[in-house]
């Protein structure tokens, strides 16, 4: 889908957030960007989204053109919903910005909310929803415009473990169902191992790719109790220990 060639980004203060990143993201992949704080994972995500531009290097998109409006779905660490708008209106926002009217899309918005387990909460405002429900609304909003690429920046980091596990399962199911491409930033080894088809390990200051680990986990089955999952967590942990500066 997109190839990153020697992508470098540094900020005015002299901090090199990303130094010569070479990477490729294939169609239909679920890539986890794993690393500690300050390794440039979020910067990389913003570059992919087109919210920021590299100082050197380039992003080569399939077909030449970078994704346009609505072709990228973005989920932030906080749900960042419009507090004055209902769940359904929040989900509809990307379509509204594209000039569509809510009434025309109400059925598909409601169906999407139902798919994310929020049937009956269409008219609820964010303040009346739990943290996990708000994140579900944010995911529905990111999916409503059927984006080519879904970018997620530590979306489940602020949730409790039970809620996080359920959302991870639901996200995996959605990904399998829609065949979309996902780049998922996390600082949790377990989360990266559980979700991704490929784990990209990054090191901080300057941000570099230290290792790439393909997931051996089979489709279906209970991943959490699969011995292969435990083995993958171990492999990732050992890789991190080997590449991380002391």
């Amino acid at each position: 889908m997109v190839r990153l060639e020697q992508v470098t980004r540094q900020f005015g203060t002299g901090i090199v957030a990303l130094a010569g990143i070479d990477a490729e993201i294939g169609r239909g992949e679920f890539v986890a960007l794993l690393g500690p704080s300050g390794c440039g994972k979020s910067t990389l995500l913003r570059l992919l989204a087109g919210l920021d531009a590299p100082d050197a290097g380039r992003l080569a998109w399939d077909g030449g053109a970078a994704p346009g409006a609505g072709e990228i779905g973005f989920v932030f660490q906080d749900a960042t919903l419009l507090p004055w708008a209902s769940a359904a209106r929040n989900v509809h926002l990307p379509l509204r910005l594209a000039g569509q009217h809510f009434e025309e899309d109400a059925a598909s918005v409601h169906a999407l909310l139902a798919r994310l387990g929020l049937a009956g909460f269409e008219d609820a405002k964010p303040a009346a929803l739990s943290g996990g429900m708000r994140m579900r609304v944010a995911i529905a909003r990111a999916l409503v415009s059927r984006p080519r690429l879904l970018l997620m920046d530590e979306p489940f980091a602020a949730l409790d473990e039970f809620t996080r596990n359920r959302l991870q399962d639901d996200l995996l199911a959605l990904w399998r169902e829609t065949g979309s491409t996902i780049v998922f930033v996390t600082h949790s080894i377990y989360e990266a191992a559980y979700l991704a088809t490929r784990i990209v390990v990054m090191t901080p200051r300057p941000g570099r790719i230290a290792a790439e680990i393909a997931s051996p986990l089979a489709e279906g089955g209970d991943r959490r109790t699969d011995p292969a999952y435990a083995a993958l967590v171990r492999e990732v942990t050992e890789t991190l220990r080997a590449v991380m500066p002391a």
């Binding site: 087109g50 960042t80 387990g117 609820a124 405002k125 009346a128 429900m133």
Partner: protein, 261 residues
Amino acid sequence: MRRAERWAPIVFGVAALALWQGLVIGLRVKPYVLPGPAAIVIAFWADRASLLLSLVSTLAVTGAALLAAALLGMALAMAMAASRLARAAIQPWAVVLQVTPVVAIAPLIIIWVHQQFAAMVVCATIVAFFPVLSNTAAGLAATPPELADLFRLNGASRWQTLALLRLPSALPFFLAGLRIAGTLALVGAVVAEFVASSGGFAGGLAGRILEAGYRLEIPRMFAALTLLALTGIGIYAALGAFERTMLRRFGAGGRDAREGT
């Protein structure tokens, strides 16, 4: 709020009034020095038609000034949010207007603006617009950056970002500024009336207060003052109710957190 807390200010006020009345009677204070509450009520009742008519005149200036302050404050805040150049140009002058006492500029305004009502509205607007401007500007600047990014990702136009994100985000700030502006508009209106009265204008509650002062009708002076204070409280409460209604309708809504994920 607990019941006792709700009644506390009323009980305190009544007790203070009773003490006041008792002291005035007990110490035989002359009514032209300090009238008791009963004398003030009697003076109000005797002069109610003139006082209420003056109140209407003051309220007209206050209301017009509040409306002008809301529109002017919002327009300037939007201009400041839209361009850094506009912000740099407007901000210092807004502060200059804010720190210059309106009593000092009111005579000039009354000379320049020939229509008396308009002149007083201009004075009161100068006093009242600053909290609307500074609050709305703060609200427009406080838009969460992630939401601004989301709008960018979806190709939102400047106008869409303003109408669907920045203005609704700024609404609670604007309403809080408006509530402060309401009482300031009343203060500005009374100040303008005081200044205008030196040029022969006799309307408004300020006119009644001055008139009663010249004639040493101190109970009547107190009646006008009381009416002014009650009006201020009324404006503050009314704008508070308006704020709550708007926020319930267009704001974040209820906080009844539900179970579930």
